[in-house]
């Protein structure tokens, strides 16, 4: 896998971060108290990760993918319960995207991605209330 594949995988991770930043706006609006504070902290974490990835992509001479104006949510968010479920979906999406980046041949990028996926996996577990055996992997891997 060459530089183009690496950039494509980084762009996929960036797109997932964009989606998470958008999604947490929806999630946060439906939560109150400590859950809202947690959603805000997670939203900020995704903004930072987004900016980090965008800077890395620029450094490689590519143009970072832009955020979409709006995103289709996987389900309607009507309250705290569905907001929490959305947070899980967002974090799982980001985890999966970083796991895709782990497959590149560049060992520095690999390590970056493996480290980067630990935070969303941990946040997903916090929102879900339980851990899984193989974050980012298809569910057939024995979750």
């Amino acid at each position: 896998m060459g530089a183009n594949t690496s950039i494509a995988a980084m762009q996929a991770a960036l797109a997932a971060e964009h989606a998470a930043v958008y999604g947490y706006g929806v999630t946060g609006a439906m939560l109150t108290g400590s859950a809202k504070s947690l959603a805000y902290a997670d939203w900020r974490a995704h903004e930072i990760a987004r900016d980090t990835l965008a800077a890395m992509i620029v450094k490689l001479g590519a143009t970072p993918v832009a955020a979409s104006a709006a995103y289709t949510l996987p389900f309607t968010v009507t309250g705290a319960s569905s907001a929490r479920r959305l947070a899980v979906v967002l974090e799982e999406g980001v985890t999966r995207a970083y796991l895709g980046l782990v497959a590149v041949n560049d060992s520095t990028l690999r390590t970056f991605a493996a480290r980067a996926m630990q935070a969303p996996a941990t946040r997903a577990a916090a929102w879900r209330g339980s851990t899984v055996a193989f974050p980012g992997m298809p569910s057939t891997t024995g979750r």
Partner: protein
């Protein structure tokens, strides 16, 4: 072109020379098994690390049965990790896949100490997996990364339990 009679007459002396000149080595009968690759060696170490983690979780669960609700789900995930890692091992028939635990530390004297010990073991396992990423195939690197992420969630779960 040599006749069959000429070829048969000459073969005891000329055939070895002919084979040498034609660079034909003949079949490599009874050659040894291929050496275990670095990647396989790393994978076998990962198997041992998981076995050690499972041992220490079992020990903690037996010593402090009240921790079972916290430890059992994490232990089940480690067993799933071990199954996936062992499933990736392909070694020559003469090579043994490790089945033994190589580290059996004494358990912490209190629940909190035991939880902290498990957390330290998880952190060490994460560091080991992360150090193996570079030499692994893409799919094996993804497995290591996913297991490391799972173990990172365990660290958070254990930390939360220590603080409760």
């Amino acid at each position: 072109m040599l006749s069959r009679r000429q070829l048969l007459a000459a073969s005891p002396t000329t055939l070895p020379l002919f084979l040498a000149l034609s660079a034909c080595k003949g079949p490599a009968v009874l050659s040894g098994p291929p050496p275990v690759t670095d990647q396989t060696t790393m994978l076998l170490h990962a198997v041992t690390t998981e076995q050690n983690l499972i041992w220490i979780y079992n020990k903690a669960a037996v010593t402090y049965s009240s921790l079972a609700p916290v430890l059992d789900p994490l232990l089940a995930e480690h067993r799933a990790h071990l199954a996936q890692l062992r499933g990736r091992v392909i070694v020559p028939p003469s090579t043994r896949v490790p089945g033994a635990v190589t580290a059996k530390p004494a358990m912490g004297a209190t629940k909190a100490a035991a939880l902290a010990q498990l957390r330290t073991a998880e952190q060490a396992a994460i560091a080991t997996l992360m150090s193996r990423l570079g030499g692994a195939s893409p799919s094996l690197a993804q497995l290591y990364a996913s297991i490391a992420a799972s173990e990172a969630t365990h660290v958070t779960a254990l930390t939360s339990e220590i603080g409760s």
